[in-house]
């Protein structure tokens, strides 16, 4: 792949440098430990990818919701390529690559991070992968076609299609173990790397701890007032996508949880005056994460339930057969398994029940232009939220990666109208934090607006 001039500013090495700078800034300015650990986790991951290339080891492209444990346990570095693009989007650096992706021929109506990923690849931002692993049909068709497009762009490197089954019963777990084993054999065939049961077990043990912290952390959002800020709620998705099973991730998850527990003990809420407890569904506009700060500031709205974190799942089980454990996790525990491959009504019902438990009073559904998966269930979510939790939901047009589709002002206008109507129909209750706290500006926290993102 020919590298276009200046493209090195957008590559993996550039990301390593950026996270190094960010960490230095956070240490110097004594940012919270969890924020430093977030950066350290991401930095360790990017170094893993970068070093793999430098040392001549194989590199595998994967995607969001492709948990890295199995391949990492075999010694294969994984690079969830669309996660990288989402990070770029959050930093406002991907716009030109959307146009480049459309130029390649990837449909302009598709999910913008995928279009931008094609654009980045076609511009030479990424090294050629030795292998590709793609899940289908989850999270979505657009992602599957991204896998195909990248395979074409990079000259058809060996590709493994991980079929994500629709069902998640025991019969399916057995089948999915076979799928994972096929993946192991494919990897061994193309890299010589062997299945390492002990290492995978260790990573599953780590994953189990991570999952426990994740669950406990999000349980805290049920407290009134909520101790977790809007953007903080999404901060584990990126690290989990890139580093599931690695010790540093657990350290981040643990410290992040403990910091929130401390807030609770000290009577500190997420924001000084909580007026609305919000359910967030659909896909968030990654390019405009500051809209979540605006929700806090303008309406005292704290997200207590959301599509990416609030889903029914089983706790992780026995790790004695780590492949079995991973199969169960992929189908029954993690985000991809529950939300994207199962029928939406049960998911909507679960979310509505959590909304009820969380005393939510408001809801926003972000209808992302490029996403059929989420938009195809908007009515179900709207109806079920009303039926079970008595909440009226606003449907807001967005594009998660492309500001040209729906602007910040348009989104804000629609949201403001919703709250205006909502507040007119209810006497908004104000829940004050026990201690008066200054609402910090996110952009100042770490010197980079892309901090709290998400995948």
């Amino acid at each position: 792949m020919k590298r276009e001039p200046g493209i090195e500013r957008f590559g993996i090495e550039a990301m390593v440098e950026e996270f190094e700078e960010r960490l230095a800034y956070q240490i110097e300015h004594k940012r919270e430990k969890s924020k430093q650990l977030f950066t350290m986790t991401m930095l360790e991951y990017y170094k893993r990818v970068s070093d793999s290339r430098k040392e001549g080891n194989p590199l595998a492209f994967t995607s969001v919701l492709f948990w890295p444990d199995l391949l990492n346990s075999m010694g294969l570095a994984t690079f969830p390529i669309d996660q990288f693009t989402i990070q770029m989007i959050a930093q406002g650096r991907a716009q030109e690559f959307i146009l480049r992706g459309e130029e390649f021929g990837f449909t302009k109506e598709s999910c913008s991070p995928h279009i931008a990923t094609v654009g980045l690849a076609a511009s030479g931002a990424f090294p050629k992968p030795d292998l590709q692993y793609v899940t289908a049909q989850g999270p979505c068709d657009s992602q599957a076609m991204l896998g195909e497009a990248l395979n074409h762009i990079f000259g058809n490197p060996p590709i493994f299609w991980l079929n994500m089954p629709y069902r998640d019963d025991d019969e399916t777990v057995e089948y999915f173990k076979e799928e994972l084993w096929d993946m192991v054999e494919f990897t061994t065939k193309h890299t010589g790397l062997k299945y390492n049961e002990e290492k995978l077990r260790e990573m599953q043990e780590n994953s189990k701890i991570c999952e426990e912290y994740f669950t406990k952390y999000h349980e805290l959002r049920k407290l009134v007032p909520s101790p977790i800020r809007n953007r903080e709620a999404f901060s584990s998705l990126g690290p989990r996508t890139t580093s599931e099973g690695w010790p540093i991730l657990n350290e981040f998850m643990k410290v992040q949880y403990e910091e929130i527990v401390d807030r609770v003990k000290n009577g500190v809420a997420a924001i000084p005056e909580e007026r609305h407890r919000l359910v967030l569904s659909g896909a968030a506009p990654f390019w405009c994460m500051k809209i979540f700060d605006w929700l806090e500031e303008e309406f005292g709205a704290v997200i207590v339930v959301d599509y990416m974190n609030s889903y029914a799942r089983d706790p992780m089980g026995d790790t004695s057969d780590p492949l079995d454990c991973l199969a169960r996790k992929a189908l029954r525990t993690n985000f991809g398994g529950r939300v994207n491959f199962t029928p939406s009504p049960p998911h909507a019902e679960y979310m509505a029940k959590v909304a009820l438990e969380s005393q939510a009073d408001s809801a926003i559904f972000f209808a992302h232009f490029g996403c059929r998966q989420t938009c195809g269930q908007y009515r179900i979510i709207v109806e079920v939220l009303k039926e079970i939790a008595g909440i009226n939901c606003a449907v807001i047009d967005v594009d998660i990666g492309n500001p040209a589709v729906v602007s910040e002002a348009q989104m804000k206008y629609q949201i403001a109208q919703y709250f205006e109507v909502l507040e007119a129909s209810q006497a908004a209750k104000v829940v004050k934090s026990a201690k008066s706290v200054e609402l910090p500006k996110y952009d100042d926290l770490d010197g980079n607006p892309g901090y709290a993102v998400v995948f």
Partner: protein, 375 residues
């Protein structure tokens, strides 16, 4: 003769309702990965759900957001408007994001007594065939429960034979299209195939046999100079679309459409466990882009270009169809290698924009004519 197929399709609701009134359960199905044979073997009537071709879908728009394809919204419109109330069942697959969410909405908001979604794997391996076979076992068991009687292996084998007969005859018709002067047009072929999806199969097979005999005796013009076209892409079930293209001077000699060759191609094997044979056939039949990897499909298209002596290719994709639209650059690259011109058209499910289609197709034919002259 073709008129008969058209008429049967246009009266499909009435005909299916009559069957329902007579006590036969009508099972709606969506997407060509649903094995009709199992429904037939259960003594039920398989009935393909397609849209009504409405330019507007006011009811469905309230359920499926505007960025879902107009095919799925048209199907839901038929359901919400009560036209499909005669259905006892609605069977779908996880074909694509649109169809999966169509199923979710159908299940949640419509009162069809039986709903089922088959989890069709996205690739073909021994493990996926085995797993899909299990899905079909569950499907069969559920139909048995509804009817209160078992579906015997013999009934399944008989159903396979009946459906294979359709496949053989349709394949014969496709063979005839390889001729220098094809005796049947693309629009006619689509009339024939879409009737297959809704007319009771025994009656249909007889009609098809008669048609085959008739087409074989058709006189063809020597020196047929119509442009030989291959059309492929998203769900397209309106023969008028092909008619419009053909009226301008072309003839569709091959299609890769789910209301075309992807519906019937490749018979079901007759040996061994019939459900396993069905799973194998439905996973290995000509692929749509929801099956991976893409290069396999691209190679298949390359072969068809050669077999059917194709001069030009028309790719049509429904707006918001991620699978077909995003696969286009890969297949386009292959056609480029073969030096075959490609016309790429975006469309909505309902027939619209005749003028624009005419202009673009005419310009495409001019480029094909230019190439003929150069050669």
């Amino acid at each position: 003769m073709i008129e008969k197929f058209r008429e049967l399709f246009s009266k499909r609701y009435q005909l299916a309702k009559e069957r329902g009134d007579q006590g036969q359960k009508v099972i709606g199905w969506v997407c060509t990965y649903v094995p009709e044979e199992i429904i037939y073997a259960a003594g039920m009537l398989p009935f393909r759900v397609v849209g009504g071709g409405h330019a507007e879908t006011p009811l469905a728009d309230g359920y499926l957001y505007t960025n879902l394809c107009t095919f799925s919204r048209n199907c839901l419109e038929e359901g919400l408007s009560g036209k499909l109330d005669f259905l006892y069942g609605y069977v779908s697959c996880n074909t694509c994001d649109h169809i999966r969410r169509l199923f979710d909405n159908w299940m949640k908001f419509l009162k069809t007594p039986y709903t089922k979604i088959l989890g069709v794997p996205v690739k073909v391996t021994e493990a996926t065939i085995k797993y899909f076979t299990k899905d079909l076992v569950h499907f069969k068991e559920e139909l048995e429960k509804i009817e209160g009687k078992g579906i015997s292996e013999e009934a399944l084998r008989n159903a396979i034979a009946v459906y294979n007969r359709t496949r053989t005859q349709l394949e014969e018709l496709y063979e005839l299209r390889k001729a220098d002067a094809p005796p049947i047009t693309g629009a006619e072929m689509m009339e024939v195939i879409r009737a297959a999806c809704v007319v009771p199969r025994d009656r249909y097979n007889q009609l098809l046999e008669d048609l085959l005999a008739e087409v074989k005796t058709r006189e063809t013009k020597p020196g047929d100079d119509r442009y030989r076209l291959l059309i492929y892409g998203s769900e397209l079930d309106n023969p008028d679309y092909l008619q419009l293209i053909e009226d301008l001077g072309g003839i569709v000699v091959f299609d890769d459409l789910c209301m075309g060759s992807r519906y019937f191609r490749d018979p079901v094997g007759l040996n061994g466990d019939p459900l396993r044979a069905l799973a194998e056939r439905y996973l290995t039949k000509p692929l749509c882009p929801r099956m991976h990897p893409t290069p396999k499909r691209v190679e298949y298209l390359r072969e068809q270009v050669k077999d059917y002596k194709v001069e030009g290719v028309i790719h049509q994709a429904l707006k918001f169809c991620d699978l077909h639209s995003s696969q286009f650059p890969m297949s386009q690259a292959m056609f480029k290698e073969l030096d075959i011109p490609v016309l790429n058209m975006e469309r909505e499910y309902a027939m619209a924009g005749h003028g624009q289609i005419k202009t673009r197709v005419s310009a495409f034919y001019e480029s094909l004519e230019g190439r003929r002259v150069q050669r």
